[in-house]
C-alpha cells in the first residue's frame, strides 16, 4: 500500500495527471489551507472563497498536463486563484471602475504597533469594508506583488486608476486601524 504522506508534490502531481482522483484529493487537501488563505483575502465571504478555490482546482486538474513539475506548485496555484477571482468579479468590477476617480495624496501612517495585534479575522473584516476594486488592487499590489502596470492590464483599468484605488484602500485601512486602536485604548482606560 502506498503511503500518500511520503510522496512529494511533484510525485502527487504526476499521479494527478493520470486522472487518479485519490491523488487529486491528496493534492487538494495538501494545498487547501494555502489556497483558502489566498482566496479569503479576495472573497466576499467564506463560501465565495471556497467556490473560487474549487473552481481553481478544477481548472488545475484540467490543465495539470501543461504544468512544469520542476517548478513550485504554490505560485501557480496562487496565480490561478487570483485569475479565477478576477474572472468571477469582472462584471462587478466593470461597474465599480466606472465611478469617478479623484487623486488622493499618499497618506502618512502612524501607530504601526497596532498592526501586529491584527488576527486573520480582523484583517478579513477590514478588507471586506473596502469596495471590491480597492480590496482587489490592495491585495494584488501589496500582498501578491503585482506591479500597477500588471494590475491595470489584468483588470482593464488604467495604471493611474490602479494607483488611486490603492491609495484609497490604504487610507481606509489606516482609519480603521486607528479606530480599532482608539477603541482598544478606550477599553483599557
Amino acid at each position: 500500500m502506498i503511503k500518500l504522506g511520503q510522496l512529494t508534490d511533484s510525485e502527487i502531481i504526476e499521479r494527478c495527471r493520470k486522472g487518479e482522483v485519490r491523488y487529486q484529493e491528496r493534492l487538494y487537501k495538501r494545498f487547501y489551507s494555502y489556497a483558502m488563505g489566498v482566496s479569503l483575502r479576495y472573497a466576499i465571504n467564506r463560501e465565495d472563497a471556497l467556490e473560487i478555490v474549487n473552481d481553481a482546482f478544477i481548472k488545475i486538474f484540467d490543465k495539470l498536463h501543461s504544468f512544469d513539475s520542476q517548478r513550485p506548485f504554490k505560485p501557480w496555484l496562487r496565480q490561478i486563484i487570483i485569475n479565477q477571482t478576477i474572472d468571477k468579479k469582472r462584471r462587478l468590477l466593470k461597474a465599480e471602475c466606472e465611478l469617478p476617480i479623484d487623486e488622493i495624496t499618499e497618506p502618512v501612517w502612524e501607530n504601526a504597533d497596532a498592526i501586529s495585534l491584527l488576527g486573520y479575522k480582523d484583517i478579513l473584516q477590514m478588507l471586506n469594508t473596502l469596495p471590491e476594486i480597492q480590496s482587489l488592487v490592495f491585495n494584488m499590489y501589496e500582498i501578491d506583488g503585482y506591479a500597477h502596470e500588471e494590475i491595470a492590464q489584468m483588470l482593464d483599468i488604467s495604471t493611474s486608476s490602479s494607483r488611486v484605488y490603492l491609495s484609497r484602500a490604504k487610507e481606509k485601512l489606516r482609519k480603521l486601524i486607528e479606530e480599532l486602536n482608539t477603541e482598544g485604548y478606550g477599553r483599557a482606560v
Binding site: 512544469d68 496565480q79 504601526a112
Partner: protein
C-alpha cells in the same frame, strides 16, 4: 521606526495568510466532487419531467383524435344499438348459429362472436354473466334486424357498393359491414360515399410556404437577437384529424455568451480553457459568439380540431438540422505562468466549421411543440403557429443546446 506603515501592514497580512490553517479540507473536497458531479450531469441528456408530460399529453391527444376519427367512420355502418366485438367464446348457442342461416349475407363468425348492448352496460364482456347476456342480445338483435332488412335491399346495396372499387379497399367498407351481419340502410351508404369523398379530399397533401421569427436562448447567453426562417411546409394526412407535418426551412440564428466561466456551457468553457495549449499557460474565456444558418428538417404529428371557420391544432415532434454556416468567434485571456509577469493577454480566434451542405446532420436534436390555428381565406389558408423548441442534444460543431421560441406563419396556395 522609519519603515513605512503600509509595508508593515502588508508584511503582517502576508505572514498571517501564508501561515493560515484551515481544517475544512474534507468538506471542501466533498463540495468540489459535488460541483464536478453537477457539471457532468449537466452534460448528460436529461429530459425534464415537463417534457415527458407535454409529450405524453400530445400522444394522448393524438390517440384521442385518432380514436374519434375511427369511431366516426365506424358509426356510419354500425347499428346504433349494436357493437360487434370478437372475443374468445366457446359457448355460442345453437339458436344463435341457426340464425345465420336465415339470411345469406349475414354470417356469424365461427365460435368467436359477442355482441355488446350499447346501452350503458359495462364493456368488460369476459365475465360469464355478461357473455350470456351478449349471446341473448345477439339472438334478439338478429331477429329484429332481419325483420327490418329485406334481402332484396341488401343485395341491391351490395351490388351498388361493389361498383365502387375504392370502397372495397377500405377496411370498414359496406361489403365488410354486410359480411359482419350489421344493419345497412341506404342513407348510411350515401353517407359513406359522401364521407369517403370528403375523406379523399382531406387526404390530399397540403403544401404551404412558411416564414417565421424566433428568439433563441442557451444557458449563459446574453443580448440574444431575433432569428428568422423561411421554407416549405407540408402536411400529409394520416387520418382526417391527424397529419404528418414535415418540410424544410432555412433559419439564421446568433447566440452570444459572456466570458464568465459559470455561465458558459461546460463543453465550451472546457474547450476555451484548452485553447492555449502551451505549457504553463492557462486560458480563460472572455466572450463567445455562435452564428448558425441551418436547415431545419421537422417531423411532427399534427392533430387538428376543426370548427366552422378555423381549425385549432396542436403539434409535436422532432427536428433534425444540417448547416449552411456554422461559425464561431471567441476571445479569451491567456495567463502565462512562469515568466514572473503574470500578465494576461487577450487572444481571439474565429472558427468556421461549415462544411458542404448535409455533410453534417444532427438528427432529432430538438423537441418541437406548437399549437395554433388554420384560418380559411377563400380557397387558401393561413396558419398562425406559435412554437417552442427544446434541445434534446447539441447543435453544430460546438454542440450548443439551443432553446427557441417563436411564431411561424404558413400560407397555403394549393389548397383544394
Amino acid at each position: 521606526m522609519e519603515e513605512r506603515f503600509d509595508k508593515i501592514l502588508s508584511n503582517h497580512i502576508r505572514s498571517v495568510f501564508d501561515n493560515y490553517e484551515d481544517h475544512s479540507a474534507n468538506e471542501g473536497w466533498d463540495q468540489l466532487l459535488m460541483q464536478r458531479q453537477k457539471a457532468n450531469s449537466k452534460k448528460k441528456r436529461i429530459i425534464p419531467i415537463w417534457i415527458w408530460t407535454v409529450t405524453g399529453t400530445a400522444a394522448i391527444l393524438a390517440l384521442f383524435a385518432l380514436n374519434l376519427d375511427l369511431a366516426n367512420q365506424k358509426s356510419i355502418f354500425t347499428s346504433p344499438q349494436l357493437e360487434v366485438k370478437i372475443v374468445k367464446s366457446k359457448n355460442i348457442s345453437k339458436s344463435a348459429k341457426s340464425l345465420t342461416k336465415l339470411h345469406a349475407s349475414i354470417q356469424l363468425p365461427k365460435s368467436k362472436v359477442k355482441v355488446e348492448a350499447n346501452n350503458g352496460r359495462p364493456n368488460a364482456l369476459t365475465a360469464p354473466a355478461l357473455e350470456a347476456l351478449a349471446l341473448e342480445n345477439i339472438e334478439n338483435a338478429f331477429v329484429e334486424e332481419l325483420e327490418k332488412i329485406p334481402a332484396v335491399e341488401i343485395n341491391q346495396l351490395s351490388q351498388h357498393i361493389s361498383q365502387h372499387p375504392d370502397l372495397n379497399l377500405v377496411e370498414r367498407s359496406p361489403i365488410r359491414a354486410l359480411n359482419n351481419k350489421i344493419e345497412i340502410k341506404p342513407e348510411f351508404v350515401k353517407e359513406y360515399i359522401a364521407g369517403e369523398t370528403q375523406q379523399k379530399r382531406r387526404r390530399n397533401i397540403d403544401y404551404s410556404v412558411m416564414a417565421g421569427s424566433f428568439m433563441s436562448y442557451a444557458n449563459g447567453t446574453e443580448n440574444n437577437g431575433l432569428g428568422y426562417k423561411a421554407g416549405l411546409d407540408l402536411n400529409i394526412p394520416l387520418t382526417s384529424r391527424v397529419q404528418l407535418n414535415t418540410g424544410l426551412n432555412l433559419g439564421q440564428q446568433t447566440l452570444e455568451f459572456s466570458g464568465n466561466n459559470a455561465d458558459l456551457p461546460a463543453s465550451i468553457a472546457a474547450k476555451m480553457n484548452a485553447y492555449d495549449d502551451n505549457p504553463g499557460v492557462v486560458s480563460s474565456p472572455d466572450s463567445y459568439k455562435a452564428n448558425m444558418v441551418a436547415i431545419d428538417l421537422p417531423v411532427n404529428v399534427r392533430v387538428a380540431f376543426p370548427s366552422a371557420n378555423y381549425t385549432f391544432f396542436v403539434s409535436g415532434g422532432f427536428s433534425s438540422y444540417s448547416y449552411v454556416n456554422d461559425s464561431y468567434s471567441a476571445s479569451y485571456y491567456s495567463y502565462p505562468f512562469g515568466t514572473g509577469t503574470g500578465v494576461r493577454t487577450r487572444e481571439s480566434l474565429n472558427i468556421d466549421n461549415s462544411g458542404s451542405l448535409f455533410s453534417r446532420i444532427d438528427w432529432f436534436r430538438t423537441l418541437n411543440m406548437s399549437a395554433g390555428i388554420d384560418c380559411k381565406l377563400g380557397k387558401k389558408q393561413l396558419s398562425i403557429e406559435p412554437y417552442l423548441k427544446y434541445p434534446l442534444g447539441g447543435l453544430g460543431a460546438d454542440q450548443i443546446r439551443w432553446n427557441s421560441i417563436g411564431v411561424n406563419l404558413k400560407f397555403s396556395f394549393w389548397r383544394q
